[in-house]
C-alpha cells in the first residue's frame, strides 16, 4: 500500500528571468515500510523534494498525498499540525532548539500537539540512541553525532507516517555516520518505519530498498534494489 504519493510536483524559485526550476514534474509513490534513498548531485533538487514531502514548503504545482490526504490542501495551521504528527525530519545540521535539553527537543512535536508523552517510547528511544544520562544536556553540550541522535529521536518520537532525512550523516565522521545510518535502518526494519533519505554515500544508498536519482529537478532513475 502506498503511504506517500508525489504527483507532477514542480517548484520554481524566483520570478521572470531569474526563475530557477528546482523541481520539474516529479511523480512517484512510496509504499509503507519502504526505505528509499534519493541521490543526485548538488543542486539537483533533492532537498527541495524532501522539504515538499515534509510539508515545510509549498509546491508551485503538483500534489503530495500522505495516507491518501492532500498535504498542501491544508491551511498553514493544519500544515503545522501535519508536520508534528505525520512526518519526522532529520537534517544534516541537526537543527535542534538551542534552549531545549535533549528530552525537550525530542518531545517538542508531541508537546506542541498538547499530547501526553509516551514515556515507554521515550525511554526506549533514549536507550536505543545511546542518550541515556544525557537527558538534561543542551545541544551546545553535545557532540555532532549526539546532536544528530537527538534529531533522529525527535523524528521517531511521534511514530510518524514517514521519516525524511536530508543527508543525516553529511556532517559526521565515519563511525558516527555508520551508527546513525544503522539507527535509521533499524527503525525501518524493526518498526516498519517508512524512511526517505537523501544521501551522497553509495554504501548507505545500497542499503535502501529503492534508489531514486534526481538531476536538474527530474527523476532520471528509479531503481528498486530489493522488495
Amino acid at each position: 500500500m502506498d503511504i506517500l504519493t508525489v504527483s507532477h510536483l514542480s517548484k520554481t524559485y524566483g520570478k521572470g528571468d531569474t526563475a530557477t526550476r528546482a523541481l520539474d514534474d516529479v511523480s512517484f509513490s512510496v509504499a509503507e515500510g519502504e526505505f528509499v534513498a534519493i541521490v543526485g548531485s548538488s543542486g539537483s533538487g533533492k532537498s527541495t523534494l524532501l522539504h515538499l514531502m515534509g510539508g515545510v514548503d509549498r509546491p508551485t504545482s503538483g500534489k503530495v498525498l500522505l495516507n491518501g490526504q492532500d498535504v498542501y490542501a491544508r491551511s498553514d495551521e493544519a500544515l503545522a499540525v501535519f508536520r508534528r504528527r505525520e512526518v519526522g525530519l532529520v537534517y544534516q545540521f541537526y537543527n535542534l532548539v538551542p534552549v531545549l535539553n535533549v528530552v525537550e527537543n525530542m518531545t517538542l512535536p508531541v508537546a506542541l500537539d498538547g499530547r501526553p508523552i509516551n514515556q515507554d517510547r521515550l525511554q526506549g528511544l533514549l536507550d536505543k540512541l545511546g542518550l541515556r544520562g544525557k537527558e538534561g544536556y543542551l545541544p551546545s553540550q553535545l557532540s555532532g553525532g549526539q546532536q544528530q541522535r537527538v534529531a533522529i529521536g525527535r523524528a521517531l518520537m511521534n511514530a510518524p507516517a514517514v521519516v525524511l532525512a536530508d543527508e543525516p550523516t553529511g556532517n559526521l565522521d565515519t563511525r558516527n555516520s555508520h551508527e546513525i545510518t544503522q539507527l535509521l535502518q533499524d527503525s525501518n526494519r524493526d518498526f516498519g518505519q517508512t524512511l526517505i533519505m537523501i544521501t551522497h554515500d553509495e554504501t548507505i544508498a545500497r542499503a535502501a530498498d529503492r534508489i531514486i536519482a534526481i538531476e536538474d529537478g527530474r527523476i532520471v532513475r528509479d531503481e528498486r534494489i530489493r522488495s
Binding site: R85, V99, N101, V103, T107
Partner: protein
C-alpha cells in the same frame, strides 16, 4: 576597496534597517550634544552681548591718581597685546537749577573722554553723535525732553569743583570720629588691602553722593569752588548711563578734550591673548604700576577668560552632567547596536577567519563599519542639533532675553567651532568605544568557535542547570511558568527561553525600563514644576493691586466714603475691571483663651503673641473693612444674616473672623487654626499718659519691654541736653535680640504704646501711668474661607462692613486702602498699558484724600506681568525639559527597537526549526506575544516603580516649600510612558516578525546552516 571593507559594506547594505537605526542613534547623540553645547554657547554669547551692550567691552580699568602718565598712556596705546584704550576724566561739576535737579540730579557732571568710549564703555548716542572736537558736548536725553535743548544749540555751564564744608553757622565746630559716625571712603588696593579715608571739611569731592546737612543724619554741606564758565555745542544725546560715565550726583555730560595731567584719570583697556583674569590684571599693572585696577569680571567670564567664578563652575558642571547623561544613553544604544550586529554575524566572522582573515583584518572590518556609521551619523547629527537650536531659540529667544536681562541683547543660536568639534569628537569617541569591545571580542574568538557560536552562544549558566533539572523523569514539560499557564505551550517555550538564554531578554527589559523612567521623570518634573507655578499663580488674586495710605486719617465714615470713591475712579480706567477693595489696619487684640486656636500663640509664626493676662492672649489682629455690599454677600455665603452687623455702638461692634490662616512654620506653607470659637475680643484702640496720646500701640514680650524701659528712661534723662542732630533713640527694631533672651511661644506679653516726637524720635508711654481705651468686637461666626478679595492671611482677622467705621470709635486707627483690579476681558490693551492707565488715574482718584493730608505711600503692583514672567519662565523650563525628554526618549525607544528586533532576528533559525517540527503560526505568534509580556513585566513594572519613586522625590522637594498640594500618582504620564514604550515594542516585534517571516522555513534553515 579592500576585501574586508567590501565585505563590511555589503553586510551594512544587507541590514539596512539595523544600519539606519545605528546611524540614527549616532545622529541623535551628536544632535543632543550639539544642542546642549549650542545652548551653552548661545547663552554665553547672549550674556556676553548683553554685558557688552550694558557696560562695554573694556576688560580692565586703571584708576590713576593723577594723569601725569602720558608716557604710560602712550606705552599702553602702542603695546602689542592692547587692543583698545579709552580714557575718562572728570572735568568738574556744574550747578543746576532746582527744577533741573529734579530730573538731572544735584549737578551736571562734566567728563572728558578719549578713545573709543562708544565700544569700550558702551556709551551710544540715541540721537546725534559722539563729540570729537573740543567744545562739543553729549548730554543726557532729559536735557532734550525736559529742557528743550536741541542738537546744534549751545549751552553754558559753570564748571567747578565740589568742596566739603561744615553747614552754615557751624563753621567753627569740629567733628571728630569720637563724637559721631563720619562718612568714610573705602578703597581696595591691588594687593587687596583696604584703605579708609575719613571725610573732612575742605576735601574735594568727586563722583560720590552729594552732602546735605539738612537731611536726617546729614553732617556736612558742600559747595562749588573754582568755577569757570564753559560754552559747549550740543552734538548728541544719550539715554543710558553706563558704568564708565555713571556718577552718583547727576547725569554726566561728555566732552571730547585734552587730558589734564594734574587730575585723576580712568583708563579703560582691552587686551588680546589673555587666558585668565590674573593675566589681565598683571598686564594692566605692567602698564600702570601704581594704578588701582578694576576688572570687568562678568565680561571676562563670558569671554571664557575665567576667574574663580562659582557660577561659571555651576553652569559648566550642569552642561557636563547633561553631556554625560547623553553620552551614557548613546553609548548604551550604539554599543547594543554593534554588539548585536556582530553577534549576528559571528558565523560570518568565523568563516572569514577560517579562510585566512587575520584578527587585525576582522577588527578593521568592525572599525570600518563604525567609521561609516560615524561619517554619516555625525554630520547629520550636527545639522539636526544646529537646526534644533536655531528653531528653538528663534521661538523662545525673546522670552529668554526678557527673563534674563530685559531685552538688552537678542537671544539667538550661536555656535562656536570648538563646541561643534567637541560634540563631533565626543560622538566619534562614543561610537569607537562602543565598537571596540565587540571588535576585540570577535577577534579573540577562534574560527570554529565563531562558527559554532551562531547556535550555541546564548545559554546562561543558570540555563544549563535549569535544563538538567527539567530533564528528570516526570519533570519534562512540567515547569510551565506563569507564561505557560496563561499562554499554554507557546508561553512555556517563551518561559524556557527567558530562563535559559543569556542577557538578550534582559537587555530588552532594561531598555524598556530605561525608556519608562526617562519619559516619566520628564513628565513628573513637568507636573510638579507646573504645580509650583500654579501655586505662585494661585496666591495672586487679581491682575493689579493698588495700595495707598494717608497720614493723619482715621477709620471713619468719610475715609471709607473717599476710599470707595477712589476705588470707583480706578475701576473706571479703560481696560481695568474692579474686583473689590478693602481697608485694613492692625490693632492690638485681647483674645479670651476659649477662642484661641492651636497655632495662634506659636511665637515662631506671628511674631509677638502670648499670655497677656490670666485667660487672655494678646496679639495683633487685623481689622478688614469690606464695602457693605461685598460684606453682605460674604455673610450670606456663610449663612449669617447681614443685618445683625448694623448693631454698632462707639464701643462695640459685631464682626466675622477667620478660623484659619496660612502660616509658614519654617518648613511648609500651610493652613493653621487661628481661632476655634466665637466670642468677644477686646481691641486696644487708645492709650494716654498725662495728656500724651499714643499714636501706635504694639505688643512686646515682657523681657523686651523691660529692656526698653531702661533705654527710654535714660533717653528721657538725657533728652533735654541732647543735640537733636544725630540723636539715636531706641527703636525696638534696632534692639539687639541677644539682650532680650530667647522669646518662646506663649511668653507673657505687655502693651507698648508709643508716639513720635517733633524730632521724629520714638517715645514710649510709661506703663505705670498709662490708661487704655477698648472696644469690644463680638465675633458672631467663624469663617473657613477668607473673602476672595482678601486672599491668604494669617493671625486674627476680623471682618466688618465699611459702615461700621462710621460708628465704632477706633481712635487713631488709620486703615490703608487696598484695591484689586483685573484686566477687562473686553479690552485690547496689554497688562502694561492698563498698569500705566491706573498709574495715571491714581493722582486724580486719590486727589480728595491727598488734598487733605499728605499720602504716606502709593503702590501699584502689576501682578499680571509678574505672573507672565513666571509663566514664561515655566514655559522656557518646560520646553527645554520636554525637548530633552523627547530626545532621550527617542534614544531609549531606539534602544528598545534595536534590542527586540535583533533578539528576534538572531533567533530566526531557531524559529524555523520549531516551525519545521510543527510549531504553528498561531503558536509562534502566541510565543512572541508571551515573550513581550515577559519583557514588559520585567521592564515596565520596575520602570514604573522606579519612576514613581522619582516622582515622589520630586513631590517631596516641592512640598519642602509648599503644602496643600497632595501627592497623586501621575497616571497620565504612567499611561503615556507605558503607551509609548508599548508602541515601540509592538513596532519592533512587528518588524522583527516580518523579517523572520520574509524567508520561509527552508531558506531560514538553509541560510543559517551555511
Amino acid at each position: 576597496m579592500s576585501a574586508i571593507a567590501n565585505f563590511t559594506w555589503r553586510s551594512l547594505g544587507a541590514n539596512r534597517v539595523r544600519t539606519a537605526v545605528t546611524i540614527a542613534g549616532v545622529a541623535l547623540a551628536a544632535a543632543l550634544l550639539t544642542a546642549v553645547l549650542g545652548t551653552f554657547t548661545s547663552l554665553n554669547h547672549f550674556m556676553y552681548q548683553s554685558e557688552e551692550q550694558l557696560t562695554g567691552t573694556w576688560m580692565a580699568r586703571a584708576t590713576l591718581e593723577d594723569a601725569n602718565a602720558t608716557a604710560q598712556l602712550e606705552a599702553a596705546q602702542s603695546a602689542s597685546d592692547v587692543t583698545s584704550v579709552a580714557t575718562v576724566q572728570e572735568v568738574g561739576f556744574a550747578a543746576l537749577s532746582d527744577k533741573q535737579q529734579e530730573y538731572l540730579g544735584p549737578y551736571a557732571t562734566v567728563l572728558s573722554f578719549s578713545g573709543d568710549l562708544q565700544t569700550m564703555g558702551s556709551v551710544s548716542p540715541c540721537e546725534g553723535e559722539m563729540p570729537d572736537q573740543p567744545g562739543e558736548i553729549l548730554l543726557f536725553e532729559t536735557w532734550k525732553s525736559k529742557e528743550g535743548v536741541a542738537i546744534g544749540d549751545t549751552i553754558t555751564l559753570n564748571v567747578g569743583q565740589r568742596e566739603l564744608i561744615m553747614p552754615e553757622g557751624e563753621e567753627d565746630l569740629t567733628v571728630t570720629e569720637q563724637s559721631m559716625d563720619l562718612p568714610h571712603a573705602y578703597e581696595v588696593t591691588s594687593e587687596g588691602e583696604v584703605t579708609t579715608t575719613t571725610y573732612e571739611p575742605g576735601m574735594i569731592l568727586h563722583g560720590e553722593d552729594a552732602y546735605n546737612s539738612s537731611v536726617k543724619g546729614g553732617i556736612y554741606d558742600e559747595r562749588l569752588i573754582n568755577t569757570q564758565e564753559h560754552t559747549y555745542t550740543v552734538v548728541g544725546f544719550y539715554d543710558r548711563s553706563t558704568f564708565a560715565i555713571s556718577s552718583a550726583v547727576g547725569q554726566s555730560c561728555l566732552i571730547a578734550g585734552e587730558i589734564d595731567p594734574s587730575e585723576p584719570l580712568q583708563v579703560y583697556l582691552s587686551f588680546s591673548g589673555m587666558n585668565n583674569q590674573t593675566e589681565v590684571k598683571e598686564a594692566t599693572l605692567n602698564l600702570f604700576p601704581d594704578a588701582g585696577v578694576t576688572l570687568h569680571t562678568a565680561l571676562l567670564r563670558f569671554m571664557g577668560i575665567s576667574g574663580d567664578g562659582a557660577i561659571w563652575d555651576t553652569f559648566f558642571g550642569l552642561v557636563s552632567i547633561l553631556a554625560i547623561i547623553i553620552v551614557v544613553a548613546c553609548v548604551s544604544l550604539i554599543y547594543n547596536a554593534f554588539a548585536i550586529s556582530l553577534a549576528q554575524r559571528a558565523g560570518q566572522f568565523g568563516l572569514l577567519s577560517s579562510i585566512g582573515a587575520s584578527k587585525r583584518q576582522l577588527r578593521r572590518a568592525v572599525l570600518f563599519e563604525a567609521g561609516f556609521v560615524t561619517l554619516v551619523g555625525v554630520p547629520l547629527g550636527l545639522l539636526i542639533g544646529i537646526g534644533g537650536c536655531v528653531v528653538t531659540f528663534a521661538v523662545l529667544g525673546p522670552d529668554i532675553a526678557r527673563i534674563a536681562v530685559g531685552e538688552a541683547a537678542q537671544f539667538e543660536a550661536h555656535f562656536e567651532a570648538w563646541a561643534l568639534i567637541f560634540a563631533a569628537v565626543l560622538t566619534v569617541l562614543t561610537v569607537f568605544a562602543s565598537a571596540f569591545l565587540p571588535a576585540l571580542r570577535i577577534s579573540r574568538v577562534s574560527a570554529i568557535d565563531a562558527i559554532r557560536e551562531a547556535q550555541t552562544g546564548r545559554i546562561s549558566k543558570r540555563g544549563l542547570k535549569d535544563a538538567r533539572v527539567s530533564a528528570r523523569p516526570g519533570k519534562v514539560w512540567k515547569n510551565r511558568g506563569l507564561a505557560g499557564q496563561v499562554f499554554g505551550m507557546s508561553g512555556q517555550l517563551a518561559h524556557i527561553n527567558q530562563r535559559r538564554s543569556s542577557s538578550k531578554s534582559r537587555a530588552a527589559s532594561i531598555s524598556l525600563a530605561l525608556a519608562v523612567v526617562l519619559i516619566m521623570t520628564a513628565g513628573s518634573l513637568n507636573m510638579w514644576l507646573g504645580s509650583l507655578v500654579d501655586a505662585a499663580r494661585g496666591s495672586e488674586l487679581c491682575d493689579f493691586a493698588v495700595s495707598a495710605s494717608f497720614e493723619d486719617r482715621h477709620a471713619d465714615a468719610q475715609l471709607m466714603e473717599q476710599y470707595a470713591q477712589a476705588y470707583e475712579s480706578l475701576a473706571s480706567v479703560s481696560g481695568a475691571e474692579g474686583v473689590g477693595w478693602t481697608a485694613k489696619m492692625p490693632v492690638p487684640a485681647l483674645v479670651p483663651d476659649q477662642m484661641v486656636g492651636a497655632s495662634l500663640v506659636d511665637g515662631s509664626l506671628f511674631g509677638v503673641a502670648g499670655t497677656f493676662d490670666e485667660g487672655v492672649v494678646g496679639c495683633m489682629a487685623q481689622i478688614v473693612f469690606l464695602d457693605d455690599a461685598s460684606f453682605a454677600s460674604y455673610a450670606d455665603s456663610m449663612g449669617v444674616t447681614a443685618t445683625q452687623f448694623d448693631n454698632v455702638t462707639a464701643q462695640s461692634a459685631p464682626a466675622l473672623a477667620l478660623a484659619q490662616g496660612y502660616g509658614n512654620n519654617g518648613m511648609v506653607y500651610q493652613l493653621l487654626t487661628m481661632l476655634k470659637d466665637t466670642g468677644t475680643i477686646q481691641l486696644v484702640v487708645g492709650a494716654q499718659e498725662d495728656g500724651a496720646t499714643a499714636s501706635y500701640i504694639s505688643f512686646m514680650s515682657t523681657a523686651e519691654r523691660e529692656y526698653l524701659a531702661k533705654q527710654v528712661n535714660s533717653n528721657r534723662a538725657a533728652s533735654s541736653a541732647e543735640d537733636a542732630n544725630g540723636a539715636q533713640s531706641a527703636d525696638p527694631r534696632d534692639t539687639d535680640a541677644s539682650e532680650l533672651g530667647d522669646q518662646n511661644a506663649g511668653d507673657d506679653v505687655v502693651l507698648a504704646p508709643y508716639y513720635f516726637d517733633e524730632a521724629d524720635d520714638i517715645v514710649y508711654l510709661d506703663p505705670e501711668k498709662t490708661t487704655y481705651d477698648y472696644v469690644d468686637i463680638e465675633v458672631v461666626a467663624l469663617a473657613e474661607e477668607a473673602p476672595e478679595i482678601l486672599g491668604d492671611s494669617s493671625g486674627v482677622v476680623l471682618i466688618m462692613p465699611a459702615s461700621t467705621a462710621a460708628t465704632l470709635d477706633l481712635h487713631e486707627g488709620n486703615p490703608s486702602f487696598h484695591g484689586a483690579f483685573n484686566l477687562s476681558p473686553d479690552t485690547d490693551l496689554t497688562y502694561e498699558e492698563v498698569a500705566e492707565e491706573l498709574e495715571e488715574q491714581r493722582e486724580s482718584a486719590f486727589a480728595p484724600l491727598a488734598n487733605q493730608t499728605s499720602p504716606d505711600y502709593y503702590t501699584i503692583s502689576n501682578m499680571a506681568s509678574e505672573m507672565e514672567n513666571i509663566t514664561m519662565m515655566a514655559t522656557v523650563v518646560n520646553v527645554f525639559c520636554l525637548l530633552f525628554a523627547i530626545i532621550l526618549a527617542l534614544i531609549a525607544l531606539a534602544n528598545v527597537f534595536n534590542t527586540i528586533t535583533n533578539g528576534l532576528i538572531l533567533r530566526r533559525r531557531e524559529f524555523a526549526i520549531m516551525k519545521s517540527v510543527g510549531l504553528s503560526g498561531r503558536q509562534f505568534r502566541r510565543m512572541i506575544v508571551s515573550e513581550c509580556v515577559g519583557y514588559s513585566l520585567r521592564g515596565l513594572i520596575p520602570g514604573v516603580v522606579l519612576s514613581l519613586l522619582v516622582s515622589a522625590l520630586l513631590y517631596a522637594a516641592v512640598t519642602l516649600s509648599l503644602s496643600g498640594i497632595t501627592f497623586s500618582i501621575p497616571w497620565l504620564y504612567v499611561l503615556l510612558a507605558i503607551g509609548m514604550v508599548s508602541v515601540a515594542m509592538a513596532l519592533s516585534v512587528a518588524y522583527g516578525m516580518n523579517r523572520c517571516k520574509a524567508d520561509n522555513i527552508v531558506e531560514a534553515l538553509r541560510r543559517e546552516a551555511q
